[in-house]
Structures are given as C-alpha cells and as structure tokens.
C-alpha cells in the first residue's frame, strides 16, 4: 500500500468526504483521513478549510496521529490564527506529560506555530522545559528559544530566556550544549553587538569537552562558535588547536572545514619556529585533499575555500598539485575552480606538468573552460619566468588551431606576456598579425592594437594595420577606441614622416566626433602634447612601462584575512565579506585574524618577526596590476600627480586649480624641459617645431574648452570673514573594505574665503600606501582641487593622516543629481578608488553676498513667483537676532528686518561662487519653534540645497 492512493480522489466533494472521515469514530479511519489531508498539503493543495476538524483529532494518545496533526497545524495556523487558539490547551497539557518525547514534541511544535497569540501561551511551558530534568526536552527547548526570538525578539529578552540559554552552555549533556550554542549563534546574528556568546576560557573548555561527544551537526555549531574566540596567548591557542585537530578526520566534510577554519585562525597566533606549528601545517593538507574526492557540490565549496587557503598559506598544498588536475567528467563549475588553484600553485618545480595539462584542456569542448585554460597558460608564463618560452610556443600552437575564441584569448594573454618580458618574444608578432581579421571581441582587438602600437617600428605595415581598424572607429567599444588612439600616437612618434595623416585623422575622430569624455580628454592631451613639445610627448607616450605583477587576482590582504575567519561560510564561497551581501546583515562585525601574542619572552624574538614577514606576499612598489595596463602607457595623466617634489604653496592656487588637469599633471611629467603652461596655450597656435604640418588642421573647437576653462578665472575676493561658519561633522566617505584598506572620511569647510575639503586618510591595509592623488568628476559648481593632495610621507599600516585640500570653483561644470553631489577619485600606489559625497552648499556662499537694499527689492520683484519655494524649519529655538548672526557666519546676510504682528521677517541674500544670487525671507514667530522660509532664485533648483543649509546652520 503506498501513499499515492491519497492522491487519487480528485472529485469535487473531496473536502466533504475528508471532513466526514475526520469526524469518524474509528481511530484508524481518522488517521487515514489525516494522512490524506497531509498528502494533499505536501503537494500544495489548500486544505485549510478542514482546520477545525483536524485540530479535533489532536486529543489522542496515538503518537503518530498527534504528529500528523501537528504537521498540519504548523502549516496552517498562520492563516487561521483564531482557530489555532483552540489547540493551545492541548499543547499546554502535553508540556506536562509524563513522556519526555511528548513534552519535547509539544514545545517544539508550539515554537513552529508563528502566531502571536500562541507565543504568549508558550512562555511558561518553555521556561519549564528549559529546566526539564530530561536532556532531550532541554535540547529541544533550546532551539525553541531561537524560534521564539525569530517571531518576537523583545518577548524573548523580556522573559529572560537569553540568560537561561547562556546557562545551558554549561549543561552536563553535550547535545544540549551544542543546541544552545546553535540557538545563541542564530540569535547573535541579528544582534551583532550583543555579548550573547561571551566566551571565556571556562566556557571554551566546556565547548571543547562537548565537541568530542556531540553529534556531527553539533560539532559544526561548536567549531563555528570557537572560531569567534580570541585566545589570550599562544599556549591557549595551541591547546585549542590540539583538541580540534582530531575533527579533521571526521566523515562529515562540514565538520572538517569548520575545524580547518578554527586551525587556520588560531595558527596565526602560534610562533612560526614552534615544532607544533609545522606539524599542524602538515596535518592540514590530507583532509583538504580528501574533500576533493567527495561529491561534486562538496568539492565546489571546498575548492572555493582552498582558493583562500592557498593564498594565505601556499605551503600547505604546494605538493598536492595533481589532485587539482581536471577530470573529464567533473562538472564545469568544479573544472573552473580547479584551474584557478592550479595556477596559484604553479611553480618552477611543477610547471611542466601544469602546462601539459593546460594544453590538454585547451582542446576540450566547453568554451568557457577552454578560454580560462588559455588564459591560465598566459598566467603561468608571467608567474614562472623559466616557463615563459614554453608557454609562448604553446600559445602559438593554439593560435594555429584557428579556433576563433582560442586565438582571441591567446592574443590577450600574449599582450600580457609582452608587458612582463619586453623585447623577448617579438618574433611571434608576425603570426599574431595573420589573425587580425578573426578578432571580433573588444578585448582581443584592443590587445592586438596595443601590440601593433607598441612594436610599430618592427611591423612594416603597422600603419596599414591600424588604418584598417580606424575605418569603423565609431562602432568600436571604448576600450578599442582608446587603445587605437594611443597606438596611432605611438606609431606617429616612431615613424613621424609617413603617418601624419593617420594621427590627425584619429585625433579629430577622438576629439570632435566622439561624445565619450575619456576618449576626448585623452585625445586633447595627446594633441596638446604633440603640438607643444614632441620630445616631451615621446617621453610621456613611449615611457618605459612599469612591470606587471605576477599574481593579478590576489585577494586584498584585509579582505583575505576576514575571509579566512569565514572559511566554510557563504562568504568564503563568494569571496566577499559577509557585510557585502548577507541579507539584512545588521551591521555584521568584521572579523580579523588574531595578532600573535606570546605567553613567554622567547617567542618575541626578532627573527620570528622577520620569518613572519617573509611569508607574507610582498608587493614591490613599482608594480601595478596588469588590469590597468591598457591605460598604463598613459601613466597618471588623468590624475593629479603625487607631490613628491613639493610644489609651491597654493597662494596663487585659485588660478592654478582650473588647469590642474593639464598644467600640473603635465608639468611634473615633462620635467624641467617644459615651460609651465600658460592660460593662453590652447588658444595660440603655438605648435611644436617638429610638428610642422599640423597647425593648419587644428580644429577651432580645440580652443574652446581650454580657453573657456582658463579664461573664466574667478576671484574669490578677500572679504573679511566672520568666524563660525558651519562645518558639518566628518563622515566616512570611503570605507576601507571598498578601497583595499584605505579609509577616507571628511567634510567640507569654508575658512577665510577658501573652500577646503578636510580629509582623514587611514591605512587599514597591511602595506604602506604612497603616491596619493585626487581628482574630481565634473560637478554642478565646477569644484576642483586647487592643489595636489599633500600627503608627503608614506602612510604606514594603521596610520592616519589629516589633510586639507583647498578647492577652487573653476573646474568643468556638469549638473549633478542631487545638485551638491561630488564624485571623487583617489589614487594611491595600490589602485584608484571612487566615491561620491555631498557637500553643504553653504561653503559656496561667498563673502560679498550682501545685496544693496534697493537691488534686493528690485530683484525680488523681478524674479517670477514660479521660482519661489517655501520650506518649514521645525524645532528651532533661536530668536531672530541669534538666527541672523548665526547665518551671517555662513555668509547668509540679513539685509533688512521687519516686525509685523509679533512676527519677525528677515530678508536675506546669498551669493553663490558661480554668481547665482539667492534671496530669502525668513519668518520667525516668537514662541513658535517653526520657521517659515521662502527662497527666490533665478535658478530654482538650488533652493532645496540652500534650504538644507539653513536647516543645518540653524540647528548647529
């Protein structure tokens, strides 16, 4: 007899029939009927109409029937809360039953009924069950606290269940301990700052004892909980490691990985010269290898974690390369992960084997996999210098296959190989050029163009090749366009005589016909460079490129440390910190690896320190990641340069600021040879000597943006400045997690007529940061740095520096939304980071913003009423005079005051740095904390921002 019989009745009267059966006197019939109901429920049929009839069957001594009714209740109680109350009495009675199984079942089921009214009745029985004499009941009750917390957190706290739960950690029964830990961990996840799992050496000892005796699942909970503990010293750390190590041989892979997490974390505290340390390292490898013989899904998770472990401690698996070889019938997601790890483990010792494997993979069928395999060959070449030659010849073999995507992928990686080993493998260029026509992916096209440009002098028909790309210039992706522009400029600098026409063509395509600002800017920069000083241009464009680093996709050390603390979790699968993606991560705390604190003097010896330092991956400062190398030849042109030479203090900085992009940037690049660029340089056709033919074709439009930008210089008059301008508190603009360890917080201020961006830079990464530079995107009020970012000393780990950056308002203008939004790029030796912030518009209020009374009246009338907007400022307890003087501090000037029927009317004027006037009428009623403000302005879109400033100034 099977359950399928329950599904056979599909007649209309089904519900009625069931109803009759449920109310039958015969126990057996009742049970059959409940089974039918449950069967319908499991396939998603709605049988909620039978609620009262099913609940009636609950009063029974037949355990199976009881369980079935409970299953039904859990499913439908939510939809029928009033009816569910009917069941409460039975639950309460069952919680007193002599049979512990029934007591536990009752409290367990009650917790699953997510109805508020029921939870009220749950508290008393739950309290009793938490202290029940039978451990089975206690362990069930522990989980029930977590359930209740999910439904009503406040109730759980008020009733003191959390404390009872904490007490259960010291329970005599390991299963109860494990469940209490599990419940507390789940609750703690929604209360990140609570000290729910307050671990101390005593409780740790209890957990370690329970660890040996509880179920596999309990072990996972306990191990995950242990991982949150920070031992006091290396001895404690070692003793915990010793007691956790046997878990590495558990059959359950989740237990193994959780144990690996605890060990990886606590190892950090052990002195590296300890014998135990190396023993532990050896013990970690076999369990990790074993995980790879499990089911593919387990392998996948294991591989993602191994990827982290290999980055943190490559020594563990360095001899296990072969287990990562891809098998024919591995699922694709396992293959791709294995490939990643193979490259991480590749070294001179095993490179031959790895290459042979990779070559094999490159002939497989799955396109994604093949691409990745080809890329991997390139990465091997870059990583292991001795193998470069073999890699290149393997890649050439692959190109000969003429399989389209293989060829493209190979060309992309060969470009990287050229970057790493310049002037070594150029003999293959001819082969590459043969395949020009088959390239249809932007990345491959860009790579090929880069190669042609870089080696233009060795390719006879370089001009023809590049010209062929130029035909469809506008249909190319930005990546290709930028590359083509640079390549042709390189070509011109190398073979000036034959390629003038080509370079003019590409410059005009880039500057005149393109609406991509990056492309245009680059075009202008080249154009100006070429026209001013071709020698300098040569130095800039054909400068020696910095080497690319070996490992291009290493995880940033801070992130890696955090992820190591999260081994085995979803975070480790996604390689992202939990805060970045966990739903409702209510401020998840960042976990850190513990710092090593020795218990004895001997462990602090300096040679230990150096050993530790030696094992960490070192980043040579001259190396930039290869991702950036497409732009590498542009060097830092799009960023203000680092101030290593110490530029003059920005006394005249206001004027200089506008041309920072061109002036300052090129200045230091070109060195002493070049003259400082004057404001008229774009305007005059002063083309360089060696650029004879060019002036005639220089488009007029070139003059416009530069001339405009510089001609429009602004004076920010030296009007005396009353003190007390409002400065908002500093807030974090760029969290360290997003910027590879660089944290930036700051605010804006106007001090003595100068707008300043006040920044605090904090280095939370492990390596030293240097070469800071800052640049703004175009913004509503033309804000731009008036000088370079003055960070003269390198910023060491955990160091903080305060910098104040004077700003000018003569930069390029683009309307932003919101109006006061500012997008900022900050660069350091590691990378470029972007963030956006909003500035208080009050910093743009200039000191000479006081209007003449007559002018005010006339202007007020003149501005159409449509432009008037009214706002309310609530809860402000200043009188009109105090308000007036406070506002004056922020350059909001009161022109006149009128009192009508106990209401003060203040008339005020404001002038923005771009010359926009804002007129205001502020009405203050004595005794009424709510002000009314009317703003009139020819540009009504600023009103909202101005109002915000009023509010901020008045309330601070």
């Amino acid at each position: 007899m099977t359950d399928s019989k329950y599904f056979t009745t599909t007649k209309k009267g089904e519900i009625f029939e069931l109803k009759a059966e449920l109310n039958s006197d015969k126990k057996e019939k009742k049970k059959e009927a409940v089974k039918k109901v449950i069967a319908s429920m499991t396939v998603g049929k709605d049988v909620s109409a039978l609620f009262p009839d099913v609940v009636n069957c609950m009063q029974t001594d037949n355990l199976e029937l009881k369980k079935l009714v409970y299953l039904y209740l859990m499913n439908y109680a939510k939809s029928q809360p009033d009816m569910a109350i009917m069941a409460v009495n039975t639950f309460v009675k069952d919680c007193e039953d002599a049979n512990p199984l029934i007591r536990a079942l009752a409290v367990r089921t009650m917790g699953c009924i997510r109805v508020d009214k029921i939870t009220e009745y749950l508290c008393e029985p739950l309290r009793k069950c938490l202290k029940d004499e039978d451990p089975y009941v206690r362990k069930t009750a522990a989980v029930c606290v977590a359930k209740l917390h999910d439904i009503n957190a406040q109730l759980v706290e008020d009733q003191g269940f959390l404390d009872t739960l904490k007490d259960l950690i010291s329970d005599s029964n390991p299963m109860v301990v494990a469940n209490a830990v599990a419940a507390l961990s789940e609750i703690a996840e929604s209360h990140p700052n609570s000290n729910l799992l307050d671990l101390n050496p005593q409780s740790i000892n209890k957990l370690l004892t329970a660890l040996n005796e509880c179920t596999e699942w309990g072990q996972i909970f306990i191990l995950d909980c242990l991982a949150n503990y920070t031992p006091r010293d290396d001895r404690e750390s070692q003793s915990i490691c010793e007691r956790v190590t046997p878990r590495l041989s558990h059959a359950n892979s989740a237990v193994v990985l959780s144990a690996v997490k605890v060990l990886m974390k606590f190892m950090e505290m052990l002195p590296k010269d300890l014998d135990y340390y190396s023993t532990l390292l050896k013990k970690l490898a076999p369990p990790l290898v074993t995980l790879l013989s499990a089911e593919p899904e387990l392998q996948y998770v294991a591989l993602r974690n191994i990827n982290l472990i290999v980055q943190k401690r490559p020594e563990i698996l360095k001899h296990e390369m072969k287990v990562f070889f891809v098998k024919y019938n591995d699922p694709i997601y396992v293959k791709l992960e294995k490939l990643d790890i193979m490259i991480r483990l590749a070294s001179q010792a095993n490179i031959a084997q790895v290459l042979a494997e990779l070559k094999e993979y490159a002939t497989e069928v799955d396109v994604d996999f093949v691409r990745k395999a080809v890329r991997a060959i390139g990465r091997c070449a870059i990583k292991v210098e001795q193998s470069a030659e073999r890699c290149v010849s393997t890649l050439l073999d692959l190109i000969q296959t003429k399989v389209n995507y293989v060829v493209q992928e190979a060309i992309v990686v060969i470009k990287d190989i050229f970057r790493k080993y310049p002037n070594k493998y150029e003999s293959v260029i001819a082969t590459l050029c043969e395949n020009l026509d088959s390239l249809d992916e932007p990345e491959a096209r860009a790579a090929m163009i880069w190669i042609v440009g870089e080696y233009a002098e060795r390719i006879d028909n370089a001009d023809e090749l590049l010209e062929s790309f130029l035909e469809g210039f506008h249909d190319e992706s930005t990546q290709v366009q930028l590359q083509l522009l640079t390549a042709i400029v390189k070509l011109f600098l190398k073979k000036p005589t034959e390629t003038q026409e080509l370079v003019q063509q590409v410059l005009s395509l880039a500057t005149q016909d393109s609406d991509n600002p990056d492309l245009r800017d680059r075009g202008y920069i080249y154009w100006r460079l070429l026209s001013t000083d071709p020698v300098a241009a040569k130095e800039v464009v054909l400068a020696e490129k910095p080497l690319i680093s070996e490992e291009t996709d290493l995880i940033e050390p801070t992130l890696l440390e955090e992820l190591i603390c999260h081994i085995g979790t979803l975070a480790s699968v996604y390689h992202k910190p939990p805060s970045a993606f966990v739903e409702g991560s209510r401020g998840v705390m960042h976990k850190r690896l513990p710092a090593r604190t020795g218990s004895g003097e001997s462990t602090e010896s300096p040679d230990v320190g150096t050993a530790a330092g030696g094992s960490a991956p070192e980043a040579a400062p001259s190396i930039i990641p290869s991702q950036g190398d497409l732009l590498g030849d542009l060097l830092n042109l799009d960023m203000a340069p680092p101030t290593t030479s110490g530029p003059p203090p920005p006394t005249t900085g206001m004027q200089m600021g506008g041309m920072d992009l061109l002036g300052g940037g090129l200045d230091s690049l070109m060195g002493d040879e070049s003259e400082p660029l004057g404001g008229d340089i774009g305007g005059s056709p002063a083309m360089g000597a060696g650029f004879g033919a060019a002036p005639a074709v220089m488009p007029a439009s070139l003059n416009a943006p530069v001339g405009g930008g510089l001609g429009d210089l602004f004076d920010l008059g030296g009007v005396g400045m009353p003190m007390g301008a409002y400065i908002p508190p500093k807030i974090v603009w760029l969290p360290a997690m997003k910027a590879k360890g660089l944290e930036i917080s700051g605010t804006f201020a106007r001090r003595a007529g100068v707008i300043q961006m006040e920044l605090i830079l904090t280095n939370k990464a492990m390596s030293v940061m240097t070469d800071f530079a800052i640049q703004f995107n175009r913004n509503s009020f033309g804000l731009a740095p008036a000088g370079p970012l003055q960070v003269l000393t390198p910023l060491g780990p955990n160091q903080t520096i305060e910098v104040s950056l004077p700003l000018s308002t003569v930069g390029p203008v683009m309307k932003m939304d919101p109006l006061n939004n500012l997008q900022v790029a900050v660069k350091n030796n590691i990378d470029v980071f972007y963030f956006s912030c909003q500035y208080p518009i009050s910093m743009l209020f200039v000191e000479d913003g006081k209007m003449e009374r007559q002018v005010f009246l006339a202007t007020w009338k003149d501005i159409p009423n449509d432009n008037e907007s009214q706002f309310q400022i609530k809860d402000c307890h200043l009188n009109s005079d105090a308000a007036s003087s406070k506002l004056q501090g922020s350059n909001i000037f009161t022109i006149a005051k009128r009192t009508v029927e106990g209401q003060d009317m203040l008339y005020m004027s404001i002038k923005l740095s771009n010359g926009i006037w804002v007129l205001a009428e502020l009405r203050v009623q004595a005794g009424n904390p709510n002000y009314t403000i009317s703003l009139k302005c020819r540009a009504p879109e600023v009103s909202q921002c101005v109002f915000q400033c009023y509010e901020a100034v008045l309330k601070n």
Partner: protein, 427 residues
C-alpha cells in the same frame, strides 16, 4: 539555518516541498530553474545560487535535484551534507531514491523530514535513530498495521538519542550474531596517450554490516595500517587509539554503515591493473578514420579483471561507425555519439580488441578534440592498495560472532587520454 527543501525532477517540476520555518514561496525556485536552463547537463548546475533574498543550495543526485533555501549565513557544506543525508535516508527507507518512490511514500517522507530538522537545525539524521521513531515500511508491517491499528511511529524516547553513543540503540537482539566488512577501493587515474600515469589515486572505503546483540566493543586491526595516512572515520571510531596504536576501536552502530574512508595518493602505491593500446586516426583527405583499441591486464596481483567496459565520447562530426570486437559487444548511440564497449572478463591469453572504421559527415574537417576513454573494471578479492585486515576482536559481550572480510577493487574515474592522428594513406 535551513529554511525549506524542494525536490525537483529533471524536467523542472517541484514535487515535494517542506518548510521548517515560515513558508517560502515556490517562485524562489525560478532562479534555480533559470540556472538549470543555462547548464548543458544537469550536473553542471552550480550548487550555490545567490538570489536577492535567499541562497539556493542544491545537489543533483539519483536524477533528482534536492534544493534547499536558506536566508542567513549558514555553512554551505553543512547544507550540502544534510541534503545528501536526505537522499541517503530515502534510499535507506525505500530501497531506492526516485521520484516515484517519494511520491508513493509522500507522508512518510514528510514525517521523516520533520524528524530530521527542527527549525532548520538537524535533529535526528542517524538512520538507526530515525528507524526507531518512524519504522520503515515493509509489506508485513503494513498488513499488521491495518489489522491491529498500531502505527509506524515509535512512542518511547530512544535511549540512543541522548547517550554518548547516539548511533546505537540499546537492547539489540539477534539470534545470529555477525559482523561483515567490505573493503572497497576505487582507482581514479588519468593515463596519457603513451600509457604513462599522469595522475592516480585510490579512494577506499570500509563498509560494515554489523548485526550484533547488546553493546559490543570492536577492535579492527590492519596488517599494514601505515598505508593509510589520510582517513576519515565514522563518529564511533575512537580517534585517540587510532593515533597511538593504529587500530580501529569502536562500538558499532546497528546494521549497515560506513566505518571509514581513506585515500592513497602516493603514486608508487597505486597499481594500474590494465593497459590500453589505442589509436584513433583520420585520413588527411577524405572523410574516413580508424579506431583501434586493445585492453590488456597489467598489475593485477594474480587476480582476474572482470566487468571491463570502455566508454568513449566520439567527436561530434562522426556520422557512423563500423567496428568489430573480438570479445564482448559494443553499442553506439549516434545521438550522443557515445560508444560503449562491454568486454566482460579479461583473458590475458587472448586480448580483446575493437577496431574498424569511422566515417565523418561529408565535408566536415578533421575533428579537433581528442576523445578520452573511460574504463570501468572490477577485481574481486583484492584491495589494490594492498590493504589487509589482520583481525577483529570483540569485547563487552560473551557470544562468538561470525566475522568476514571481503575485498573488491573498482575503477572510479579512470580515463585514458588519446590523441587523434592524421594518416596519409591506408596502411
């Protein structure tokens, strides 16, 4: 913890859902079905999928997807292990794990799932414990139940639930006391074209079937335990004793269980039992090719190799094949291009050979891919690593049990790489 479980068949139909916390709408599976559409094979569906509000962790097993929905940070391995446990439980209870079986026993599966998790926390996952609480169906029992009105659900608290040996129930009684151990080893290997081992390892497992009364305490020792450096044990094994004396000491669960798994990857210890001579070649011009495969015994320790089977995925451009086998028979599916040659027992005097011609689709170029041969084989009474059980002792009970050990070696993922050659003229 684990919120919900969906069972999904290969055509994407959800035929069972179970929620341990609040109900999650079925529509969440759409993200999974989307990923499934994208994957070429059902095996290729990524096991962890991120949706805006949930995580979907799935396994593919016995042609079914087990999909769990989670909402908070839960170790994915924990979930995957649990899902495999669910599949094993179904297999254990009903003899097989399939859609039909689950549909036939819907209510019982549902009851079982309820026992396995509470609020998403594992409650009872040991087969012994589950079987005490919900008795597996037998024809006899269902007849008895109908006649007497008794139920399948146990109504006493299990002693095993809370003792320090949760895996064993108390009061076990057998008339015949017996303990059998199967040492099963699978060889995973990749051999290159010339027959050189690229990679080889042995995955071993000791399966036990122990039916002993009372609370027996067993000690199993090996002749050569040093072979095993990478092991994982059933929770019943006392790890300390293994560390110090290299013996397995344990109080066994009742019935079938996996005592330990191990793996040997020291290259010199992995004997390769067969060799394969193969050539697949295509004529430089024309649309024909040749295939020639011979299998012979290599390091077999004097045992006979049985159940030999060779599977090849031929290139897509093959139109038809015409082969003759000197032993066994071959099947070829032109749709999937899968060639399966079932050889059977390997006779060292007369080596089996499969040869003949391949014809390509007209005008198709010489295939680029190099098909690899997957080999299946079996050797009875041999653990290829050389592992041997020394003795089994029992303490704690007075009776004399029947004891037995069986060895078997199989091929796991055993593949031979090929290289397609070009030939100029027929030789």
């Amino acid at each position: 913890m684990i919120n919900s479980l969906f069972l999904i068949n290969p055509s994407g139909e959800m035929f069972l859902e179970k929620h341990w916390k609040s109900v999650v709408s079925r529509s969440v599976c759409d993200y999974f079905l989307e990923a499934k559409e994208k994957a070429l094979e059902p095996e290729d569906v990524p096991p962890v999928i991120h949706t805006p509000h949930h995580y979907l962790i799935s396994i593919y097993r016995d042609k079914l997807f087990f999909l769990s929905v989670i909402q908070t940070e839960v170790p994915p391995l924990f979930v995957i292990e649990f899902l495999h446990r669910v599949a094993e439980m179904i297999q254990d209870y009903f003899g097989e794990c399939s859609e039909t079986v689950v549909k036939d026993h819907m209510v019982m599966v549902y009851e079982l799932l309820e026992e396995m998790l509470d609020n998403g926390f594992p409650l009872a996952t040991e087969s012994n414990v589950l079987k005490e609480m919900i008795r597996p169906p037998t024809i006899l029992r269902s007849v008895v139940n109908t006649l007497t009105g008794t139920s399948n659900v146990g109504d006493t608290l299990l002693t095993g639930q809370l003792s320090t040996i949760p895996w064993r129930r108390a009061g076990v009684r057998y008339t015949n006391n017996e303990a059998y151990f199967d040492v099963v080893e699978e060889i995973d290997a990749i051999l290159d074209q010339s027959g050189t081992t690229v990679f080889a390892e042995i995955q071993g497992v000791v399966e036990a079937c122990v039916k002993l009364s009372g609370m027996p305490d067993l000690t199993l020792s090996f002749m050569n335990p040093r072979l095993l450096d990478d092991v994982s044990f059933h929770p019943c094994v006392r790890y300390k004793l293994w560390e110090s004396e290299r013996v397995l000491s344990f109080i066994p669960p009742d019935g079938n269980f996996t005592l330990m798994t191990y793996h040997v990857n020291a290259q010199n210890l992995v004997a390769i039992p067969v060799y394969v001579k193969q050539s697949i070649s295509f004529f430089e011009c024309g649309s024909d090719g040749r295939l020639d495969v011979t299998v012979g015994p290599k390091q077999t320790m004097g045992k006979t190799v049985e159940g030999v089977m060779v599977t090849v995925h031929l290139p897509k451009t093959i139109l038809s094949i015409n082969l003759t086998a000197t032993q066994g028979s071959y099947t070829y599916d032109n749709g999937t291009k899968l060639l399966v040659w079932d050889i059977g027992k390997l006779n060292p005097q007369k080596l089996p050979n499969l040869r003949g011609s391949l014809s390509l689709q007209a005008g198709a170029p010489k295939p680029e891919e190099n098909p690899s041969l997957n080999i299946d084989l079996k050797i009875q009474q041999l653990a290829i690593s050389g592992l041997k059980v020394n003795r089994l002792d029992m303490f704690g009970e007075k009776y004399k049990p029947f004891k037995g050990v069986k060895y078997i070696t199989k091929a796991g993922k055993f593949q031979v790489l090929t290289i397609t050659a070009s030939i100029n003229k027929y030789t």
